[in-house]
Symmetry: C2
Subunit: 591 residues, 2 copies
């Protein structure tokens, strides 16, 4: 395979494109791999398409060797199946919806659980047909609020989605593990570092899920790791519950005037000044109980006011909150929301008016507590009167919640749930996500089979996604320097980039022969045969394009020599042109 730069449909950009802040995005644009067609929607140029095809091929091969069978669903789908599972509404504005000429509702599918479920229901009817795992490599659509970072968060993208169907939990566990193993092989073959983290299921539903993250500072996902091997997406981190505190000696709660303490900091300073702790230890923000009021919109459209109580040294993490409440959606309560609840005194809200269990009032604001607010803990918190706070308010004695919620931010140094030490925080790009869905979709769509006793049983499912275009971006993100891309050989658009420099026809002839010979030896060759481009520009393009081996054919030809440079670093070598094919072939093998 020999591609000539003189005719190849590609133009590199010297300047960084505006709005491309992430390296993979910037370099894929500059190197002419992709072009933007609309926000979050990209066109693939020839070199980009070659890389994409290689990534897809790896995914396909490993799916097949994991026993998954390939099918292909439409992207344009009718509303009804997504209505049956409530996802037509639950997906909210992320779903592209449209009408056909007969005014029937359609959508551009974000994932295909419903359609796979219906297809298996259509074809299969017995436990003997199972297990089966199906997959597709297909174009998906999500109307992201903030498409960003090029291919990393797009609105039209390629995904590999697979779905497993089993009669029972043991089968699901096996199918899940088989996909999980295939994912490990895929990311290893793609040369991608990955971390497998516990995750939340989000709109997908189901009982267990894990994400494959490619560690990257520009990643959108924050995850935690512990020295003992615990790893979780920050949304899925479970706060270790502290032991109950003995509060037999705790003083009775007492309300105090706390003028001019609108913030936690001013309150803590005031408390230390006027009501120092008996043991002399200063109060800190962690001793205060912050009550955050939220407006939660439920899938049925109801808007509910909810309060979350958490230690005053922590913020609410909106992503964790969202994961905890899904499919309901939360936002900070507005002034209008607060006016509907006159008992809430802004800046001084406390358990005195919050909670149904607490106040015995079924109409009270629902009150959810951070897991750290265990029985016996003592708090300074609002007294529900402007300018007043209550001290020594003891959880379990003086107030209770209506439940707990994982909404507080996770911080580096927090204890790991497995007790193995402090958590470390890092960021990553979500390149895969696997779910044990259980029976949510099969129940909603009536997918049952006859079991071994001739009884109808509902099938249990898994769903397994890889963001194919996103994985490509993650590879670019992990394999670049300030001069350009540096592809791993297994996905590079070519193996060797031959550059002919200068104007000497003898040099061009030698380069032409070498490029042909390499191609005949089975290597994929990109040949810079452009007659009027300066050597500097050619070298810059080679560095930008990122083919793993760069072979420079220049004046050295008179001495029978060419230069071989590994793009990703390593030594530049002068090689005798007569040995060049063998030598380069060996280097490609070793890459």
């Amino acid at each position: 395979m020999l591609l000539r730069l003189s005719t190849l449909f590609v133009r590199t950009l010297r300047e960084n494109p505006a709005d491309a802040e992430v390296a993979s995005h910037r370099l894929l644009l500059r190197a002419g791999y992709i072009r933007r067609a609309a926000p979050g929607i990209y066109t693939w140029l020839p070199l980009g398409l070659r890389v994409l095809a290689k990534v897809e091929a790896v995914v396909r091969e490993e799916m097949q060797s994991a026993g998954a069978q390939e099918v292909h669903f439409p992207a344009l789908l009718p509303r009804e199946p997504y209505e049956a599972t409530h996802r037509w509404t639950e997906y909210g504005p992320n779903l592209f919806r449209l009408k056909d000429r007969k005014d029937a509702d359609y959508l551009l599918a974000p994932t295909h659980e419903e359609m796979f479920t219906l297809l298996v229901k259509d074809l299969y009817g017995s436990y003997k047909d199972l297990p089966v795992t199906l997959f597709q490599v297909q174009t998906k659509y999500r109307d992201e609020a903030r498409p960003r970072a090029g291919l990393i968060r797009g609105r039209e993208f390629v995904m590999k989605d697979a779905y497993s169907f089993d009669v029972d939990e043991d089968g699901l566990e096996l199918s899940y593990q088989r996909q999980r193993d295939a994912y490990e092989r895929i990311f290893q073959r793609l040369g991608l570092d990955y971390v497998i983290v516990a995750a939340t299921s989000g709109a997908m539903g189901g009982s267990r899920s894990e994400e494959f993250l490619s560690p990257a500072s520009i990643g959108e996902d924050t995850f935690v790791r512990s020295p003992g091997g615990y790893a979780a997406n920050v949304e899925a981190v479970v706060t270790p519950v502290p032991d109950v505190v003995d509060h037999a000696d705790a003083p009775a709660a007492h309300v105090e005037d706390t003028p001019d303490t609108p913030t936690i900091d001013t309150l803590v300073a005031f408390a230390n000044e006027t009501h120092p702790r008996a043991d002399g230890v200063p109060w800190t923000a962690a001793d205060t109980l912050k009550n955050v009021v939220l407006a939660v919109t439920h899938p049925d459209g109801e808007r509910e006011i909810v309060a979350v109580g958490l230690p005053g040294d922590r913020e609410v993490d909106l992503k964790r909150l969202e994961a905890a409440l899904t499919p309901s959606v939360a936002e900070p309560a507005t002034e209008a929301d607060l006016r509907t609840r006159p008992e809430l005194v802004k800046g001084y809200i406390g358990p005195g008016v919050l909670g149904r269990a607490n106040t015995g009032d079924e109409k009270a604001v629902r009150y959810l507590l951070d897991p750290r607010v265990v029985e016996g803990t003592r708090w300074i918190t609002g007294a529900d009167v402007a300018g007043r706070h209550v001290f020594d308010l003891v959880a379990g004695r003086d107030f209770v919640g209506d439940g707990t919620i994982e909404a507080a931010e996770v911080r580096a140094g927090d204890p790991a749930p497995d007790g193995s030490g402090p958590l470390e925080l890092a960021r990553g790009i979500e390149i895969g996500h696997i779910f044990q869905l259980g029976r949510k979709y099969a129940e909603a769509l009536g997918l049952k089979v006859l079991d071994v006793n001739g009884k109808q049983v509902t099938v249990t499912m898994g769903s397994y996604g890889i963001g194919v275009t996103r994985a490509l971006a993650a590879i670019a993100e992990a394999n670049h320097d300030d001069k350009g891309l540096a592809w791993p050989v297994q996905v590079a658009p070519a193996h060797v980039h031959v550059v002919a420099t200068g104007k000497d026809p003898a040099v061009f002839e030698a380069a032409e022969s070498l490029a042909s010979a390499l191609s005949l030896r089975g290597m994929e060759v990109l040949f810079d045969d452009r007659p009027k481009v300066a050597p500097g520009a050619k070298f810059a393009d080679a560095e930008l394009l990122g083919v793993p081996l760069v072979v420079v054919v220049g004046r050295g030809v008179v001495d029978g020599l060419v230069e071989v440079r590994p793009r990703a670093g390593g030594e530049t070598a002068e090689v005798a042109i007569v040995d060049a094919v063998d030598h380069i072939s060996e280097l490609v093998e070793q890459l």
Copy 2:
């Protein structure tokens, strides 16, 4: 490659699915190659996807060897480029339109002329960059009014679309010819009979176009052929213009009472009875001039009343009319339309009130004549008064039109435009369509390059489409019998279908060994290893699935024999099992 029917995700249907009237549609459904997801929208099951991948591979290879470079555009596109070329409106209800969360207009692309034009404009700027031909294999969307025949007229389908860019007409001609040659190679390799016919350009615009039709009685396109080799889509047939008739001796036109002659037939009968021709030859419908009133909607929304004059023995062909008027759209005038034109007396409309050139009235109904209405021809036609017709009305002497129109039906036996004899009519499936677009898109979107003199010139383009999924259906249509499909080997989902019959474990072991051996020899093997399916059902499935060679392993195994049956016909042979791999391998080579 070895696929086992015991685990393959496929179920054949014994019964014909409702609403599947066309053989390819019916058999692709019954054999479990595709499933319907919505009207005109299909899901590909594993065997169907294998065939589709093979068809795509042939298309890709021939595009590449014709020098076209592959890219890939999004399906979801912003409105603006299609607005610039007016196609946003001209496509009418065939276009799927939608809005994103910010209320911006998007469409699902039916073809990509605009985007390719903009991409080349983005990358290229000089005549030195040209010519270039780009292509993609991509999913397209058209909201067809009447999706039918399965994959033949779908709403989501795979298309190969290519676009050429040249500085001048000679270049376009070469690029066009190169694609045309590639199309011939593609359809030959796919084993598809095809006819290349002159065609109209429709909404695409441009100066010249040809269609590749696969002859099939269920085809939607009617085309003509002449003994001399003229071939055209019926919409593109050019009526040979008869010689001018000497009308020196023609009598003056005379209006006659023609009571009770509301139809052409009653008028002809009445004329023969009361006003026989001087030469004794009876009047026929061909002597009458029928004036058909139409309402034409122009792209700007204006609704214009237009009359078409044609010989009374011919009907208006709505498809030819549509092609003649595109991008305007015509329909028969309604009663309401006619009320706006009180001069039109229904059943008696004639040139007395029609035509601007004719009446000298700029507000008169525009009057377009069939090409057969040449100077000197004499007609019986309406006198614009109820119950009266005019006789001996001579074209050119007594009336003229405002132009001619190709709207009359084409009939078998009509003279060919090349004078080579009578036209023959046939039907076909449009599998390819190539266009010399010229500068329509480049002008609308400003695609110019510097020419050799440093002057900006507008680029000239071609566009070249193959309906990939439709071509697959055309192959199925051309390769089936009443028992099922019979794929040509080059696109078949497997080369050999090994059937193990009966219950004898020795038979199954022999079949298993043979299937493995064939697979190891590089053949693609479908192996019916289902333990509890009766031989008759297995044979029926083999015939339905249509793999080219069926190998039956049954009781003959005790005598060391298996049976080899070519699916498409030919002799069934008993073959020694020890020679089977060699023998079958040879047969596959010969297919």
